[in-house]
């Protein structure tokens, strides 16, 4: 089986109020060194056995078509066997 780990995050410059609220909570808890928190999405996608290159290409298409919205988000992913 092939497993893809996809990370989707808000683009730089797009305000993340959820991240900012968590940052502020961390500060309250004594983690004053925290400068910024950005919250994103982590997806694990299991695929049928296909060559890795093909899997990579398919996951790229999935990201472009559905998993991330290029207006506000960017993505990266890793493909591994197992």
């Amino acid at each position: 089986m092939i497993r893809a780990k996809v990370y989707v995050t808000l683009k730089k410059g797009v305000l993340d109020p959820q991240g900012e609220t968590v940052r502020s909570a961390l500060e309250t808890l004594g983690f004053g060194e925290v400068r910024d928190v950005r919250i994103g999405k982590f997806m694990v996608i299991s695929l049928n056995d296909v060559p890795r290159d093909e899997a990579r290409q398919r996951v790229e298409e999935m990201c472009k078509k559905l998993l991330a919205n290029p207006v506000i988000e960017e993505y990266r992913f890793e493909v591994e066997e197992g």
Binding site: V14, L15, P17, T21, L66, V71, I72
Partner: protein, 236 residues
């Protein structure tokens, strides 16, 4: 006029739209399930509010691939009227029929209250019964209503007179305090370049009868009826 109201799993404002169109304005409506691939002959399509497909992944992200959306897109590309309200606006943005995206409110709140919006242009089929600068009182009901687009897109929207509504004070000023969700430049609604597709976060169907606190929202539907009358009076 015949209105088609698109219903996704998770839509929840379709009956409010139907009520206003049929009982307040005497028009015909049909509810169109999202699995339909061919549309009847509708003058205007409405994508109502709600949580289409649970708003999973992103608001509108899954709904945008519902089978009916190809037909909605064809209707829009032909110049047919499409009105996206709240979640419907989010779906239209995801589908690329309107530019930009709607993000989580900056305020940490799910917002459900009356707001004031200013009509920025009467030159659309959805606002031609209003006057430019007119302030409408219409409720919002959303968690992801913060309009965002890159600078170039916002500049283009402004230059093309595509910003249709802005959040304002009761006196009509687009102040920061009057901006409920952190939208760029207080944007509450926009139209496409062809001006036949409109998306807005406020719910005009919830403000169409004085009994409910405001009848200002009726102006949007009255505009659509008016533009249909003008179109049928003008030989094409």
């Amino acid at each position: 006029m015949r209105f088609g109201i698109i219903v996704f799993p998770g839509s929840n404002c379709e009956l409010d739209c139907r009520w206003v169109l049929e009982n307040v304005l005497g028009q015909q409506t049909e509810l169109v399930w999202h699995k339909e691939t061919a549309l009847g002959d509708y003058d205007c399509l409405i994508l109502p509010g709600g949580f289409a497909h649970g708003d999973y992944l992103r608001t509108g992200a899954i709904a945008r691939f519902s089978p009916v959306m190809a037909a909605v897109e064809r209707h829009a590309r032909r110049g047919g009227l499409v009105l996206g309200i709240c979640n419907g606006f989010q779906v239209l943005c995801e589908a690329g029929l309107l530019p930009g995206a709607l993000l989580r409110n900056t305020t940490m709140h799910f917002l459900c209250r009356q707001v004031h919006i200013r009509v920025e242009t009467a030159a659309t089929p959805f606002t031609n019964a209003c006057t430019r600068g007119q302030v409408l009182r219409i409720p919002i009901n959303h968690n992801e209503g913060r309009y965002y687009a890159d600078e170039a897109t916002v500049a283009r929207l402004t230059a093309n007179d595509q910003v249709v509504f802005r959040y304002v004070t009761a006196g009509g000023e687009p102040t920061e305090a009057a901006n409920p969700n952190g939208s760029l430049q207080n944007i509450a609604g926009i139209c496409n370049e062809g001006r036949n597709v409109l998306g807005l976060m406020p719910h005009p169907e919830r403000a169409a009868e004085a009994l409910l606190g405001s009848a200002d929202g009726r102006l949007l539907f009255a505009s659509v009826l008016r533009s249909a009358r003008t179109a049928s009076a003008t030989p094409r």
